[in-house]
């Protein structure tokens, strides 16, 4: 058994997370609460028809994005599926840029050309949310390939780890099997994080995946270190995920994580949720990851009290309110932007009807 797999079995006596400073825990608490609050306001804006298209809410799964991203370096590449607001914020995207993107404004992270499902942030090494289920998995392998190539062939980089997130529904895609095979074959440092919230839209996992009690077998089939993590407790996430990251970085090889989590809202904003009971949702809310960490901070670490928590929430509510306000008032994309960013080298005669040009500089760059 590898070091990471041993650690993954959990050791209640001395936890890796015990060594984390209080400030780190409070940073995570803040980050999770920011996502929760942001998503609440996102739903409101969606209901007011300020946000269009498909919109997938991350509430309930915060410990996954915040915990796993908390284990890597700022310049480790990250690629996501379409349920991506949480990761974008956890990665450091300005909430204004994230919200403005959903509002379809020029100040959005993709200048209003991507929308909810396509959050990109180059300065934060975020290689996009991706709308096609499973499409991001070979991309994740490629980010790891490039990072390893940069370090090994070009000699100008350092050992990196790529994080590639996918839902439990995406594990059924052929692309994912190919992505894993390539990562294992070429020994690439990518960690596939299956955010297993139990449902692919309205199809429960045992109805969409064979042998769904043992997802780890899929990673193991390729000789990939495969670990199951209870993703509702962020300290547990750190305890198990951090050694895995270190190992993948050090050994330059992939890993597979079955990350057990739960989403509180419907699949997207238009989901009547007939496939699950309110009871089930309530049960998971009892194990809420934010409440969990707050409790730990209050009663074990004594690093925050009721007043401090209230203050933190107020501050966060204000940040999100500002993001909404900003997006409301932000300018629409200039009509000319329709024809920009199509080509990096726009030359004549590429289209019978369009004349392409370089776009305005992306607000994040």
């Amino acid at each position: 058994m590898t070091k990471a797999a041993t650690a993954a079995q959990g050791n209640s006596k001395s936890r890796l997370s015990d060594k984390l400073p209080d400030a780190k825990l409070l940073e995570w608490l803040r980050s999770m609460q920011l996502i929760r609050e942001f998503e609440t306001r996102t739903m409101q804006a969606y209901q007011q028809a300020k946000i269009g298209g498909f919109c997938h809410i991350y509430s309930g799964q915060e410990a996954c994005a915040v915990g796993t991203i908390g284990c890597v370096e700022h310049d480790d590449p990250v690629v996501l599926a379409y349920r991506d607001h949480g990761h974008a914020l956890a990665r450091g995207m300005d909430p204004k840029a994230c919200m403005a993107e959903m509002y379809g404004k020029a100040a959005g992270c993709a200048k209003g050309k991507g929308g909810s499902m396509h959050m990109f942030d180059k300065p934060n090494w975020l290689f996009g949310g991706h709308g096609i289920v499973g499409a991001q998995t070979p991309l994740g392998t490629g980010l790891a390939f490039a990072a390893r190539y940069e370090w090994e062939v070009i000699g100008s980089g350092k050992k990196k780890v790529a994080l590639c997130y996918l839902g439990d529904g995406a594990i059924d895609q052929g692309a994912f099997f190919e992505a894993m095979n390539l990562a294992a074959l070429y020994s690439l440092p990518v960690i596939y994080i299956i955010e297993n919230n139990g449902y692919s839209m309205g199809t429960a996992i045992h109805r969409h995946s064979a042998n769904s009690d043992n997802l780890l077998a899929r990673g193991e089939a390729f000789g990939i270190t495969s670990v199951k993590i209870d993703g509702l407790d962020i300290l547990n996430v750190y305890d198990q995920f951090k050694p895995l990251v270190d190992e993948c970085r050090d050994m330059q090889r992939p890993a597979f994580v079955d990350f057990k989590t739960y989403r509180y809202q419907g699949h997207s904003m238009s989901d009547p949720q007939k496939y699950r009971t309110k009871d089930e949702v309530d049960q998971y809310k009892q194990k809420d990851s934010i409440a969990n960490l707050l409790d730990h901070c209050m009663s074990v670490r004594n690093c925050i009290d009721e007043d401090g928590w209230k203050e933190m929430r107020t501050e966060i509510a204000e940040i999100v309110r500002e993001a909404v306000q900003f997006s409301e008032n932000a300018a629409d994309p200039d009509p000319s932007e329709l024809f920009t960013d199509v080509y990096a080298n726009p030359q004549p005669n590429l289209s019978p009807t369009a004349t392409y040009a370089h776009g305005k500089k992306n607000p994040l760059l």
């Binding site: 590449p77 690629v79 992270c109 993709a110 200048k111 209003g112 050309k113 991507g114 396509h118 990109f120 942030d121 180059k122 290689f127 996009g128 991706h130 096609i132 499409a135 998995t137 070979p138 991309l139 994740g140 392998t141 490629g142 980010l143 790891a144 390939f145 490039a146 190539y149 940069e150 090994e152 062939v153 070009i154 100008s156 980089g157 052929g174 692309a175 190919e178 992505a179 095979n181 390539l182 074959l185 070429y186 920009t340 960013d341 199509v342 080509y343 990096a344 080298n345 030359q347 004549p348 005669n349 590429l350 289209s351 019978p352 369009a354 370089h358 776009g359 500089k361 992306n362 760059l365």
Partner: protein
């Protein structure tokens, strides 16, 4: 060695080859095969730029299923000449991620027919990434491989993907008809910061011609007037350009002289050269090895009608592969493809 700009802050002002430099002469006695011309273009760029690597089925130890990459493993080693499993969706997607990160992958499809299982990365990701990310991440990648019928491989292995794929904005498409252009266009494709779909033909890989030793860059969007005449304009791309030249040769014996335009790239499309020729000849035949319905020939003819309708003395005519799946039998396959006889008949048709 160029400076490695793996993570440029913006994608503007990407260094480009100096296209003002005159191209070396096409005539000479350095006779090599089409496949060697391709290898020379790749090898030169790989020597220049460590970000460039080649990946595909059998490209390394087997020296390429069609021997295009022969000797490259020996020169560049297994970290840059990479044998892939039969996993087009996987490795095309992997290279999409690598290109976003800042590398310059060359992805060899043994045949473009096999790229269809990689439709999601090559059509849904690569050409749209720059736009979808609001100008943050482009995909400087070259997909190359054999396109088209002619080897009695039957329907599944004989795809001409140009009609299908050129529909997608965000990509460029080059399709050489001869060894000289193959080298110069592939060099440009690798240097270009946009995704380039590069279409070769197994039937031409053994074709021989003079190819200069130095690296040269043929600008995209500039057709070559392969033969001059005033009776009819023949517009074509890729392998059928050679059929047009054959037909034109025969027609010349009957006193019919044709302009033969080798478009060299489909996107961009040098419509200006087509217009200039049509204004001279007033008659045009478009020869296209992909299917006719909503294809390249339909696009070219539409643009001709948009730009110089009044100059036409006869409605434009197209010669495509016949609108059926590719047959196996030799005779049927010949009849299916645009061949010199069909082209000559079309020319006579527009002159009638």
């Amino acid at each position: 060695m160029t400076t490695l700009d793996l993570h440029p802050a913006t994608i503007e002002n990407v260094p480009q080859p100096d296209f003002s430099k005159p191209l070396p002469p096409r005539e000479g006695d350095r006779i090599i095969q089409f496949r060697e011309a391709l290898k020379e273009a790749m090898s030169h760029e790989m020597r220049q730029d460590e970000r460039v690597f080649l990946i595909g089925e059998e490209v390394a130890q087997y020296s390429g299923a069609y021997k295009v990459s022969q000797g490259m493993l020996e020169e560049f080693g297994p970290k840059r000449i990479i044998d892939s499993p039969i996993s087009e969706n996987g490795f095309a997607g992997m290279c999409t991620g690598a290109a976003m990160y800042g590398l310059r992958p060359i992805v060899e499809f043994m045949s473009w027919s096999f790229s269809l299982v990689a439709a999601d990365p090559i059509l849904n990701n690569v050409p749209k990434m720059l736009y979808m990310s609001g100008g943050q991440w482009g995909c400087p990648i070259v997909f190359r491989g054999n396109d088209g019928a002619g080897g009695q491989l039957g329907s599944t292995h004989s795809w001409c993907v140009e009609g299908l794929f050129a529909n997608v904005p965000g990509m460029k498409m080059a399709i050489p008809s001869n060894p000289y252009d193959a080298k110069g266009l592939l060099a440009t494709a690798i240097a270009d910061p946009d995704p380039v779909f590069f279409l070769e033909s197994e039937r031409m890989l053994g074709d021989k011609a003079h190819v200069p030793e130095e690296q040269y860059y043929i600008p995209f969007g500039q057709a070559r007037l392969a033969r001059e005449g005033d009776a009819v304009t023949l517009v074509s791309f890729g392998r059928p350009v050679n059929f047009c030249l054959e037909a034109a040769e025969k027609l010349a014996e009957e006193g019919i002289e044709c302009d033969v335009l080798d478009m060299r790239t489909i996107r961009p499309l040098d419509i200006d050269s087509i217009i200039a020729s049509v204004k001279k000849t007033n008659r045009v035949v478009v020869v296209d090895q992909s299917w006719p319905f909503a294809g390249i020939s339909s696009e070219v003819i539409t643009q001709i009608c948009e730009h110089c309708f009044d100059w036409l003395d006869h409605q434009p005519v197209r010669v495509n592969t016949e609108d059926v799946p590719t047959p196996y039998a030799k005779g049927l396959e010949y009849a299916y493809l645009p061949n010199p006889e069909r082209i000559a008949a079309a020319v006579k048709n527009v002159l009638a």
